[in-house]
């Protein structure tokens, strides 16, 4: 049996590994545009020169050899023939499959701001190539502008900052990481960034990019008149799923991306999907789990994806870690509990005995329990304990095989 996996990121690599785990004999071919296996989440470490390419590799050592997976690297898939069960590559090659796992991920989306799509030195931060170019260009430039203060945008800022580039971060909201952090937690980072020379333009949208004669950026003009001088722009405002190769194949997609069910199945019984290519729940662990689920189902073993909970994030900038789970901004009727001491900030929002969100900055020890409680909306009202001290001890339970459960 031959299994083909498209994509060498979280979903692709883990899916392939899972297939191998279940079936020691099957033939597995992994096809990826990427020439290297690398973690897209730490490209900023590459930019700042903390890691080289091989150090971005999140897969097991000698992954392909070890797990006996054939890798067609640097190959684009241009089409799928679901009747003949073949994928067509950009070099003309066709690869047949018994079952196919689509894990082609997503690519940066550059919004239609004047000149943004046409100018030189405007990059997303999604692929290694982006990172390579940014790193290269950073040698020649003085100032950079980053649009979008989500995780990717802030990652880009740290990468550039380490290289000594002056950075200005432009964001529509009033603070960085508006989806993950509250004002207090963001401010802490903003203060630290400012100390390192980073500037912020909040509540701002990009209006147009001014370029020079060589089509290099000169300044980003914001709505409202402000002008941010810059020699390079990094756009971190969103991604679009890589599904163009599925046009006309009959495989179901929608405006977000590839459509799959909770078993990773598409509308084609031999085609499965996982990860960012679905456009949904775009966080790493979900990509991995979806791939694991899909792989199991591909091999006939029933497994259901039961955890779509994706509002959970951690970050670690300038040695200050933060964890954000669920809703960190209170709504009416919510009870907010805050605990602050010596640089550690903890906030838990709960209502009617259920924790809705948690924000921890500084000390994340043992906090995984909160993720579970928030995700499952567990009732903690009977636990007579300081909410910040609730841990797994209050739910302790062992399965027969020694695993924990709830």
């Amino acid at each position: 049996m031959r299994y083909v996996v498209l994509g060498a990121s979280a979903a692709g690599i883990n899916g392939a590994k899972e297939i191998r785990k279940i079936d020691r004999e099957a033939e597995i071919i992994l096809i990826s545009r990427d020439e290297h296996v690398y973690s897209r989440c730490i490209l900023h470490h590459y930019i700042s020169d903390h890691r080289n390419v091989s150090e971005l590799d999140f897969s097991d050592e000698n992954f392909f050899e070890r797990y006996n997976i054939q890798w067609k690297r640097g190959r684009d898939v241009v089409g799928v023939d679901s009747e003949r069960r073949e994928v067509h590559l950009d070099n003309g090659e066709s690869v047949s499959y018994y079952k196919l796992l689509i894990a082609t991920g997503a690519s940066s989306f550059i919004p239609p701001v004047e000149n943004l799509r046409s100018a030189k030195r405007v990059y997303g931060l999604r692929n290694l190539e982006d990172a390579e170019r940014i790193r290269e260009d950073a040698k020649d430039i003085k100032r950079a502008c980053v649009i979008g203060a989500g995780l990717v945008g802030v990652d880009a800022v740290t990468g550039l900052m380490e290289l000594g580039v002056e950075v200005n971060l432009v964001e529509m909201s009033d603070r960085i990481l508006p989806l993950q952090l509250d004002k207090k937690a963001s401010s802490r980072y903003e203060e630290m960034f400012r100390k390192r020379g980073v500037e912020f333009s909040f509540s701002s949208r990009a209006e147009r990019l001014e370029v020079d004669a060589d089509n290099n950026p000169v300044a980003l003009h914001l709505e409202g008149g402000e002008k941010v001088p810059c020699d390079m722009v990094v756009v971190a405002t969103g991604v679009r799923s890589n599904i163009s190769f599925l046009e006309g194949t009959g495989v179901s997609t929608d405006r977000l991306g590839l459509v799959i069910d909770d078993r990773g199945r598409t509308n084609d019984p031999h085609i499965f999907g996982a990860g960012d290519v679905t456009g949904r729940n775009p966080i790493w662990p979900n990509a991995v789990k979806e791939a694991v689920v899909a792989a199991n189902n591909m091999l006939g073993s029933e497994m259901v994806m039961d955890d779509f909970f994706s509002s959970k994030n951690t970050m670690n900038f300038m040695d200050l870690p933060t964890m954000s789970i669920g809703s960190v901004l209170p709504e009416e009727g919510d009870i907010v509990e805050v605990d602050e001491f010596q640089g550690i900030y903890k906030k838990i929002i709960h209502k009617e005995g259920r924790i809705k969100g948690a924000l921890l900055q500084g000390d994340l020890s043992y906090s995984g329990v909160l993720t579970h409680l928030i995700k499952n909306r567990t009732d903690i009202s009977k636990i007579n304990k300081n909410i910040f001290e609730i841990d797994y001890s209050d739910f302790f339970r062992l399965k027969k095989n020694g695993e924990y459960s709830y």
Binding site: D339, E340, F341, Q342, N386, F388, E389
Partner: protein, 621 residues
């Protein structure tokens, strides 16, 4: 920051804002407590150890089982606690002796007369008598173990003395009894838990009669007898316009010279020259309560009692304390970094209480004048150097102005018309159901800081039970207002009526933990008046938040007296069924006393109320 709660919410909020760490935070860090230690079944005496009792290893290497190990640990703790109180009475007696020899002022002449009466000292003028009283005490303390102490029979209630004699627990020389208890509890020596428990009772007797009772009575002579009066308490008592010295310890007589010197005109002038109005003492721990108890005689120099031991770290962070002057416990090691941070000068008068960064000025009666001068000098220089550098933040709403203090067995009896009859009548009629002494330390582990103490007290007074208190628990009760007359509104109908009638609160403040001895004199005198022995009184004792070894020694005295003694947390003895059974059960047949461990506040109140009701029934009330 995670921290434990306090019954005193204002204190709790103040601590939340404090910049330096306190015990309130560390108690959370230390929340995982070793089960072996809690049960008392860990032994660390020798290099074959440490040994722990478990199902697979039910004996130490030497063969000691759980009972031996628990009893050894327990007796050693009690020996140390007894030693602490005996150290206090030894210092006190030495100070009295010196006062007599140097013919200094006797502030409590009546008290001296009464002591001479009890001791049988008739010859000499008052100063010579004072010397003889002191010598009698010291002679007893220094007897060898095979010579019974002579004052025991004079001090103890006769039926109790007889019982102790039958049981063979009358103490020989107190210091030697402690000494041999220390020997007994070493490796491959004593392994008999019952012998060790009896020795514990023996140590309890010397602790109670000498460490507690005699210290109070000798202090009465030197420092003035307690007089019932109103006094302010809490953080509000401290005034930043003065140079403030916070005192910690239990040996009030060590401050006799200083407390008078501080208000001399020339000293006040020196303070004014530095920009302050004068120098004042602020109370903390039991010595503060002792000053408060005798506050009638120190109205100028003593501004009031700020609170109990566990408020000391927070209190220093008001910035208003210029000097910490210690001579005993509780002087928390936790104050050291705070004193550094707030530039507070630390001075230690007795090396048993030496803090790492304190200046040691060894107190002796010969040096007391020069020591007072040195302290005054340090205080003024600390004030001058630090006030510009630190900020003052005194929560002026913390505390109360109208705490009733100065209660002793004498002042209370005098208040009732020089007889216990009114109290006996109130008890007989049921207006007061009974009496409970809620005494001893403050800790952070029985529900939180003073929480058990305060809630238990509220429960008891709701049930018309009069509460007498002494020790750091008093420090907690008075700071939440339970020792002010207004607290009567929290009492049950009967008790409230009594209180409002007499103008007293339902919780009476006897002062320092030493005064537990005074409380026990009240019990003795009531028993005597009723012609019964102590185990028959409608009275119980609770040390809900006992903290230290001294508290255990105190408790041993209560048990020797035949009192039911409640604790809110078990001592580290639960690893031995024999020890637990003797203390909580068979002791009733031995001394009449009983240890009751109950960690639930309501159940504790129920149990004590039941005991009181039982005894009322037995007395036909």
């Amino acid at each position: 920051m995670p921290m434990c709660q306090s019954a005193d919410k204002k204190l709790e909020n103040f601590i939340k804002e404090c910049s330096c760490e306190t015990s309130f935070k560390r108690v959370v860090d230390q929340k995982v407590k070793c089960g072996f230690g809690l049960q008392g079944v860990c032994c660390r005496l020798c290099s074959n150890g440490p040994c722990r009792i478990t199902p697979k290893s039910p004996k130490g290497v030497c063969g000691a089982d759980a009972h031996t190990i628990v009893a050894r640990n327990f007796l050693r703790n009690i020996a140390a606690g007894s030693a602490c109180y005996l150290h206090v009475i030894e210092t006190t007696a030495n100070n009295l002796k010196s006062l007599g020899e140097k013919r200094e002022k006797i502030k409590g002449e009546n008290a001296l007369e009464e002591l001479c009466e009890i001791f049988g000292i008739h010859e000499g003028d008052k100063h010579e008598k004072a010397v003889k009283v002191a010598d009698a005490v010291l002679a007893d303390l220094y007897k060898p173990r095979n010579q019974k102490m002579e004052l025991v029979e004079k001090m103890a209630y006769a039926p109790r003395y007889k019982k102790w004699e039958e049981l063979g627990i009358l103490p020989g020389g107190a210091k030697s009894e402690v000494f041999d208890a220390l020997v007994k509890t070493s490796t491959n020596l004593n392994s008999d838990p019952v012998d060790m428990l009896m020795h514990s009772l023996n140590l309890g007797i010397s602790t109670g009669l000498y460490g507690l009772t005699l210290t109070n009575l000798l202090n009465d002579v030197m420092l003035g007898e307690p007089v019932i009066r109103k006094a302010p308490v809490g953080f509000k008592v401290v005034n930043e316009e003065y140079i403030n010295i916070m005192i910690t310890g239990h040996q009030h007589s060590v401050f006799s010279h200083l407390q008078d010197r501080l208000i001399d005109a020339d000293v006040t002038e020196m303070a004014k020259a530095a920009g302050a109005k004068g120098i004042r003492l602020v109370g903390c721990t039991c010595v503060g309560q002792d000053l408060q108890l005798r506050g009638e005689h120190y109205q100028e120099v003593f501004v009031g009692h700020a609170g109990n031991n566990f408020i000391s770290e927070a209190f220093l962070q008001t910035g208003a304390v210029d000097v910490i002057l210690s001579e005993f416990n509780c002087t928390l090691p936790g104050i050291e970094p705070i004193a550094e941070e707030f530039k507070v000068k630390q001075i230690c008068l007795d090396d048993v209480a030496k803090k790492s960064n304190a200046e040691f000025m060894k107190y002796s009666t010969d040096d007391k004048e020069s020591i007072s001068e040195a302290i005054i000098k340090e205080a003024i220089s600390a004030y001058s150097e630090r006030r510009g550098e630190i900020s003052i933040n005194i929560p002026k709403d913390h505390g109360h102005d109208d705490v009733i203090t100065g209660v002793s067995e004498k002042s209370l009896k005098a208040f009732l018309g020089n007889t216990w009859q009114p109290l006996i009548d109130l008890i007989a009629s049921g207006k007061i159901k009974g009496v409970v002494g809620v005494v001893g330390c403050s800790n952070l582990t029985a529900k939180g800081h003073d929480i058990f103490t305060v809630e238990l007290t509220k429960e008891l007074i709701k049930r018309d039970i009069l509460v007498l208190s002494a020790g750091c628990s008093s420090g907690g009760l008075e700071n939440v207002g339970l020792m002010s007359p207004g607290a009567a509104s929290l009492a049950g109908d009967n008790l409230r009526a009594v209180c409002e009638n007499l103008g007293i609160p339902p919780v009476l403040n006897f002062g320092p933990c030493l005064a537990i001895g005074r409380l026990e004199i009240v019990a003795t005198e009531l028993a005597e008046a009723l012609g019964i022995d102590i185990p028959q009184l409608p009275l119980a004792l609770s040390a809900p938040q006992w903290l230290e070894e001294q508290a255990l020694a105190d408790g041993a005295f209560g048990l020797a007296l035949g009192l039911p003694l409640h604790l809110g947390l078990p001592p580290f003895v639960t690893g031995s069924e024999i020890v637990v059974d003797v203390l909580t059960n068979s002791l009733k047949e031995i001394t009449g006393g009983q240890l009751i461990v109950e960690e639930d506040i309501l159940k504790s109140a129920d149990i004590m109320e039941d005991i009181i009701l039982d005894r009322r029934r037995a007395l036909g009330l």
